[in-house]
């Protein structure tokens, strides 16, 4: 409690700063020489000066380098006089044998500062200008030292000892000269037995010290490599790379028992409140971008240390909450979230709260509710989440925290649209009815719409740009998925617009992406990311001509580049994330509208430009979209190869969708190859992924039963397939899943077509087409048209003309955007139409038919779709037979036979992916 009264940004003397001071003394000795003793050239001198400047600049970094690292860097800078520099440094340290020496040292430091007026006295004299950067640094050090009490000096003295000893233990140059220092330092420890005991134990202890510090101070080969390459790597970067290295984790755990002794020296490097906040923010970003691929225990041990060092820094609890959230530990996450808000009252470190607002009395507990709600949402407790968010709305209204209210409404609409809760009336109706009193009677969709509108309005008026942007995106998503009807207007004026209009979707998406231009205009508080202090050392890399990005592995290259640019244009990660999300949404919308190239392009834009700043789940989504595209347009081989890569990359992401996609692909593959047992198994596994709670994971459940119906259809169990499809349609209707309805209707038409009941199939196909029309699902509509045509043909060959017309109408869409299967189907059907048309003569117009069939069979080969391929080849053989081209006929027949045998023995060649 007493500690809180001290200023947060205190500048304290640390051993590292003393190192810098010693070097400064070398750089500008008080003796009047134009070029001080050890330097052979002016450029060499300047080089040291530059280095010192960067050191003083990076002094505000979170962790300071250890002596060993400093020495390594010095060797690089010093070139031929490196030995002299490092020796001087270590000797100077070992000459500090009592607190008095420290006092004298700082007295001497005063000498290297020139007086204010003598600045221009002599040109060739090297004197530090007291108001220069280096001079300021020296002055601050001297001042800080003078402020120290005697106890403080003693602590500094012991920490210098630790600082030196660590360097010695790691370089394993433990020689007798050090004994002197040791004995002096330990004069207060009366335990003489230590000395009688052999030195081996002492060595052990030192080793322990060294090993205990691994989690912070890299001794990993990579880092050493970096240093020897001459790259000045700041401590933070190192600690970050260390976090990535999961191998370090067991070490960190093993050394936790000895952690206590290392903690002492860590504390010296702990910096101001402000910088720690920055560091924590970076960690939070890391947790989000890397998901649970970042080993949670390594972060945990880091947080534990931080908490030991700064028990009053409550943000640690929040970070721990994030960490636990990403490693799916519900109880720990809940506990830490509550703890954070209990301690800080939500006032520490939330940048969405303007600090000027007087909040000391009541705290910001509405934010706690918001976070809690989102946590429940993530863990799949939609009803709990809704309760909590409702309370959040109430409390933020009470405390008139409009910012929080806007965010809460957005979160709520997100929850409702994602979860599609069926029974919300009881919850929402009683509590919050924005704008209208009839809110309780509204459907979920309408409520989502209202919430979004409200949130958008508030966010707009409060100038919460990111929220505005993400609300626009959510709005776009909403309009994409739902028929927009004018709400609550029943009069004659009510125009019934039944279409979701791509124009408005695009408009919303573009509005969302406007964020970036807003941010370049506004130099907001968001630039503080704690990474600024390290930017200095990074900038220094450039003139030295080092291979800046050479150390990064290929995939991270762009990220480094962007980080680098970040310092120039200062676009916060969250902004680029939202913009990235807009591209993803664009891709999805094109996917639905049925433009494959546009979808692919947008996904690619996302993956290349935003892949590194995005959260791992978004990146995963982009990858999966691309893989899906591959499967549809290039066949399974490529898709499975790509899936392997994605699997490795995203295996650790919690709630990973990779498995989902894998099952989908395997199912599809098995269906095509006629391996129905496998298909059924995949289908069941897919269903098993969904949560058992009502109204949760609806998309997944729909997907599973859709696939089940298709499997049944392939197994020619028509009535069962129709049953499944019917109940699925009911579910879709209940949860208002309009787009899914369209595909279910199409499936029903398909079932009736296959069962030979074309008359029954027609209404379903027509209904599906009208659904597709109102949602602008062009590709689905084309495929429904194809089915419709097939149904017409099924009614008899006299309808062949009509069927052909229908098909030709849909052909541009199918050929331009359709996948392999759809295209092949269309081709085969076209050939079928021609062949069944009595007015068509094979002998005169054989090429029209043969071309389509050849195209179809080629595409089906890639898909390994045996049934259709056999059909195409059969037709081909028949045509050849008619034409009398026997050789080609035999060829086609042989291929036909191959496909038929493959279809009959599906397990003959099991895919090795399963």
């Amino acid at each position: 409690m007493a500690g809180l009264t001290r200023t947060a940004g205190a500048f304290t003397v640390t051993p590292h700063k003393i190192s810098v001071c010693i070097l400064l003394q070398l750089y500008a000795p008080s003796a009047q020489m134009s070029l001080p003793f050890p330097f052979s050239s002016v450029s060499q001198h300047n080089r040291l000066g530059l280095y010192l400047l960067s050191l003083t600049k990076s002094c505000d970094d979170i962790f300071e380098p250890k002596l060993e690292d400093l020495l390594n860097q010095l060797r690089e800078v010093g070139e031929d006089m490196d030995a002299w520099l490092t020796d001087h440094l270590t000797n100077r340290f070992s000459s500090l044998t009592s607190p008095d020496d420290l006092l004298n040292f700082f007295n001497d430091m005063r000498g290297i500062l020139g007086s204010v007026d003598s600045g221009a006295a002599q040109d060739d004299q090297i004197i530090l200008d007291p108001s220069s950067n280096l001079g300021m640094f020296v002055r601050r050090c001297i001042l800080a030292f003078n402020l120290l009490s005697f106890e403080g000096v003693c602590h500094l003295f012991t920490s210098i000892e630790v600082y030196c000893r660590e360097a010695h233990s790691s370089s394993a140059q433990y020689d007798a000269s050090n004994d002197n220092l040791e004995s002096l330092i330990q004069h207060d420890q009366m335990d003489m037995e230590k000395y009688i005991m052999d030195k081996a134990t002492e060595e052990i202890e030192l080793q322990k010290n060294a090993s205990g510090s691994v989690p912070f101070h890299l001794h990993t080969p990579e880092a050493l490599f970096k240093v020897t390459e001459g790259l000045l790597v700041t401590r933070k970067e190192k600690s970050r790379t260390n976090m990535k290295k999961t191998e370090a984790t067991p070490l960190a755990c093993a050394s936790s028992s000895t952690a206590d002794d290392t903690l002492v020296d860590e504390s010296l490097f702990l910096r101001t409140n402000y910088q720690i906040q920055g560091c924590l923010m970076e960690q939070a970003d890391a947790i989000e971008t890397h998901g649970s691929s970042l080993s949670s225990s390594s972060i945990e041990s880091f947080l534990q240390k931080l908490q030991n060092l700064a028990p009053e820094l409550h943000r640690v609890h929040f970070l721990r909450y994030l960490n636990k959230l990403h490693s799916d530990d519900y109880f720990a996450a809940l506990d830490n979230l509550l703890r954070y808000f209990d301690y800080s009252a939500g006032t520490e470190g939330f940048d969405l709260v303007p600090p000027s607002a007087g909040c000391s009395m009541y705290g910001r507990y509405e934010i706690a509710l918001l976070c809690l709600g989102m946590m429940h949402f993530r863990f799949g407790h939609p009803n709990l989440a809704l309760e909590v968010l409702t309370e959040a709305v109430r409390v933020s209204q009470q405390l008139s925290n409009d910012t929080c209210l806007a965010y809460t409404l957005a979160a709520m609409s997100n929850l409702l649209s994602e979860m599609g809760i069926a029974s919300t009336t009881s919850v929402l109706g009683s509590s919050y009815s924005p704008g209208t009193s009839t809110a309780s009677s509204l459907s979920v969709q309408q409520r989502v719409y209202i919430l979004l509108k409200e949130s958008l309005r508030r966010a707009d008026s409060l100038k919460l740009r990111r929220l505005v942007a993400s609300n626009h995106l959510a709005m776009a998503k909403f309009e994409l998925m739902h028929v927009q009807r004018p709400l609550l207007s029943f009069g004659p004026k009510a125009s019934m617009r039944h279409k979701t209009c791509p124009v408005s979707v695009c408009k919303e998406i573009r509005l969302g992406a406007h964020l970036i231009s807003d941010f370049s205009a506004e130099s907001s508080t968001m630039t503080i990311d704690g990474s600024l202090s390290s930017a200095w050392l990074k900038d220094l890399q450039k003139p030295w001509g080092q291979p800046v990005f050479s150390q990064e592995s290929g995939s991270r290259k762009s990220s480094t580049f962007f980080q680098f640019c970040d310092h120039l244009v200062s676009i916060p990660g969250s902004v680029s994330q939202i913009i990235g999300a807009s591209y993803l949404l664009r891709a999805t919308s094109w996917e639905l509208y049925g433009s494959a190239p546009m979808a692919r392009m947008n996904t690619l834009v996302y993956a290349t430009l935003f892949g590194d700043s995005s959260s791992s789940s978004d990146a995963e989504l982009a990858y999966l979209k691309l893989i899906q595209h591959l499967a549809l347009y290039k066949g399974y081989k490529d898709a499975f190869a790509a899936l392997k890569i994605a699997e490795e990359k995203f295996l650790t992401v919690s709630k990973s969708k990779v498995l989902l996609l894998k099952l989908q692909l395997l199912h599809e593959h098995a269906l095509h190859r006629g391996n129905l047992k496998l298909a059924q198994r995949m289908c069941n596994e897919l269903g098993g992924l969904a949560s058992t709670t009502m109204g949760v994971d609806m998309e997944l459940k729909v997907e599973a039963s859709l696939r089940e119906a298709r499997t049944l259809l392939a197994a020619k169990q028509y009535s069962q397939a129709a049953n499944v499809a019917h109940s699925l349609f009911c579910t879709c209707h209940k949860f208002n899943l309009q787009i899914e309805k369209a595909s279910v209707l199409l499936l029903l038409a398909e079932i009736h077509k296959k069962s030979g009941n074309a008359v029954l199939g027609l209404p379903y196909a027509l209904a599906s087409i009208s659904f597709c029309q109102s949602f602008n699902l062009d590709l689905l509509k084309a495929s429904a048209t194809l089915t419709l045509a097939e149904l017409w043909l099924g009614l008899g060959s006299n309808h062949a003309k009509r069927a052909l017309d229908l098909l030709h109408g849909a052909f541009p869409m199918i050929l331009g955007h359709g996948g392999l299967e759809l295209r092949a189907r269309a081709y085969i059907f076209e050939a079928n139409c021609y062949l069944s048309d009595p007015s068509f003569s094979v002998s005169t117009d054989s090429d029209t038919v043969l071309d389509s069939l050849r195209q179809a069979s080629d595409e089906l080969q890639a898909l390994e779709y045996h049934e259709l391929a056999a059909e195409a080849l059969y037709l081909m053989a028949m045509v050849y037979d008619k034409l009398g081209r026997l050789e080609e006929r035999e060829e086609a027949a042989a291929l036909f036979k191959k496909h038929i045998t493959a279809l009959e023995n599906p397990q003959h060649e099991e895919p090795n992916m399963a």
Binding site: M1, M192, E193, A310, R339, A368
Partner: protein, 580 residues
């Protein structure tokens, strides 16, 4: 049952051995128990019993001689009291040891350990290590102040722990460690966070030397759950009973704990310690009157006692005895002003007087003296709640909870604070937590029920369930019954409502209470019975209502009239509708 005499002899020897090793608090504890043993009436003249608390020096000397001369029963771990008293080897390293001990007594710990640097006897090794440990602790305390940083950073650690741990583990490996060394090793391991090893060390220590109460209490602090407690393999000894009693108490098994203390009181019938602990357990069972008497008694015997007096002040606070509380505070302050307990008592006094700022100041002082003083954090939270500074209250409660996650009062306080801020759903989590630790307290259930009942949540079914639990836990204030009745009435379940109103009425009758609740119950019951055509019973309630004045009387009159009407076979006409 162990004979009193053997107990006495054991303790006497133990005190000597403990204070020889400078384990003063354990010696103090043992001493308290020694004088707590009831004297054998046959050995004493009646005049002697008056002074039995300090038996005469002659007697004591005689006693120790006796203990040395009496041959110990044969060594065997199966027999309960058979742990042999270890013989001291003090003759061998006499002089240096004596010097070291006197340094130690003067609190010059490093000097003491230095004197013993070459001594290899177990006793000297222990004292050296112990002195070193204390020196480290002292330095740690000082550094804590020196190193205090802007974020509450106080990473001061006992710098001797590493070397001590190394030395003691080496000794343990070679078997050259006695039970005292094991105790110290256990303490060090606990401080280093190695709890399971610490437990085994302490168990080993108390099994070989059971009279060291400090070892027992360290062990007790490591038993955070009943499973851990049961998994310990402890030799039977009467000291184990003390241990179990205190462990049960910590684990909130108050009745078990009380049973143990009752058993122990058979031997140590005059022990202040047992009396205080019994009072503590009774306090947790909310037997305030009894506790007050016990503490009064305790203070009469031991007027300068400060330990546990904060509990007494809590009792006085609950009974709103201002004068007694101020008297206690004054007395304790004169005894020792710089004890967290004293500050806590003063804080309680100011709180009772409604001067919450001052109360907070004293609680803060108590916390300054002991940062981990649980009840001060909780009480400070209460004060902040009184001052309507909810965020400060939440902070204080949260600190209490983080010190001891089983502190149901603090969880409850957290829930209350959040409820005050209009966040009942958020508060529910905290109430649930507090109920988890104390499932049999009706007050907690009622609080949770109120929370569910709040207008924001309006989850009446859940509220009813909570109140039902409260009734089952023996709700003394009758809130739950009343609320149950009202809720059922609100939900239109008249049968249930009538049932609970009747029960509530019975309770009020038994306690001789009157008030609006009673009127409400009577009116409801009368109307309900009347509509159900149970006119006789309805009439009984109506006539009871007639005894009171006010609108209820009029209501009863009209009800009665209606009943008469219905009984005499008039067509069912509601007379109330006619202006009479």
């Amino acid at each position: 049952m162990v004979s009193k005499e053997s107990c006495r002899n054991e303790i006497r020897a133990a005190i000597r051995q403990l204070s020889d090793r400078c384990l003063y608090s354990a010696a103090k504890w043992a001493g308290e128990q020694l004088v707590g043993i009831e004297q054998d009436p046959s050995n004493f003249t009646p005049s002697n019993t008056r002074f039995q608390r300090g038996s005469s020096s002659i007697r004591r000397r005689f006693g120790t001689n006796e203990s040395i001369s009496t041959p110990q029963p044969s060594v065997g771990f199966s027999q309960p009291p058979a742990t042999p008293l270890p013989q001291d080897d003090e003759v061998i390293d006499g002089d240096l040891y004596l010097l070291a001990k006197s340094y130690f007594d003067c609190r010059e710990y490093r000097r003491a350990s230095h004197v013993l640097r070459d001594q290899m006897s177990k006793k000297s090794v222990f004292l050296r290590c112990y002195a070193l440990y204390l020196a480290g602790e002292k330095r740690k305390e000082e550094e804590m102040i020196e190193l205090e940083g802007p974020l509450g950073k106080s990473d001061a650690i006992n710098r001797e722990l590493v070397s001590l741990e190394r030395e003691l583990s080496a000794l343990k490996r070679t078997g050259a460690i006695d039970s005292f060394g094991l105790y110290l090793y256990g303490v060090i391991l606990k401080e280093k966070g190695n709890e399971s090893l610490a437990r085994t060390c302490l168990v080993e220590s108390v099994n070989s030397y059971p009279w060291n109460w400090s070892a027992w209490s360290e062990l007790q602090s490591l038993c955070t759950s009943i499973e851990i407690l049961n998994s310990l393999s402890l030799n039977n000894h009467w000291m184990k009973e003390f241990f179990l009693a205190s462990a049960y108490q910590e684990l909130r098994m108050h009745t078990e704990s009380l049973a143990k203390y009752e058993y122990l009181q058979g031997i140590f019938s005059f022990s202040n310690y047992i009396q205080a602990q019994t009072a503590k357990a009774q306090y947790c069972l909310r037997e305030f009157d009894q506790v007050e008497i016990m503490f009064e008694d305790l203070l009469r015997n031991d007027p300068y006692r400060v330990e546990d007096m904060d509990l007494y002040s809590n009792v006085l606070y609950a009974k709103e005895a201002c004068a007694a509380l101020s008297y206690l505070a004054h007395k304790v302050f004169l005894t020792d002003k710089y004890r967290p307990e004293s500050c806590c008592i003063v804080g309680n006094y100011y709180s009772l007087k409604g001067q919450h700022e001052k109360a907070v100041m004293y609680f803060r002082r108590a916390l300054k003296l002991n940062k981990k003083y649980l009840s001060a954090w909780t009480l400070m939270g209460h004060e902040y709640v009184e001052m309507k500074n909810t965020s400060a209250a939440i902070d204080a409660y949260r600190r209490a909870v983080d010190i001891n996650p089983c502190d149901y009062r603090a969880w409850y306080g957290l829930g209350q604070a959040y409820e005050m801020m209009g966040m009942p759903f958020y508060a529910l989590h905290y109430f649930r937590k507090s109920i988890f630790f104390l499932p049999n307290d009706s007050r907690l259930w009622i609080a949770m029920g109120k929370c569910y009942q709040s207008e924001q949540l309006h989850m009446l079914e859940e509220a009813i369930n909570c109140y039902k639990r409260a009734v089952n836990c023996g709700d003394t204030e009758g809130i739950a019954l009343n609320q149950l009745a009202k809720l059922h009435k609100k939900l239109g379940r008249n049968e249930e409502a009538a049932f609970y109103f009747e029960k509530d009425l019975e309770r009020m009758d038994a306690e001789g209470l009157e008030g609006p609740n009673m009127f409400e119950a009577l009116v409801f019951l009368a109307t309900h019975l009347k509509t159900n055509k149970k006119f006789d019973e309805a009439e009984v309630y109506c006539t009871r209502l007639l005894d009171y004045s006010g609108p209820e009387k009029e209501k009863a009159k009209s009800l009665l009239r209606g009943i008469r009407m219905a009984q005499t076979g008039f067509p069912s006409m509601d007379m109330e509708h006619f202006p009479l």
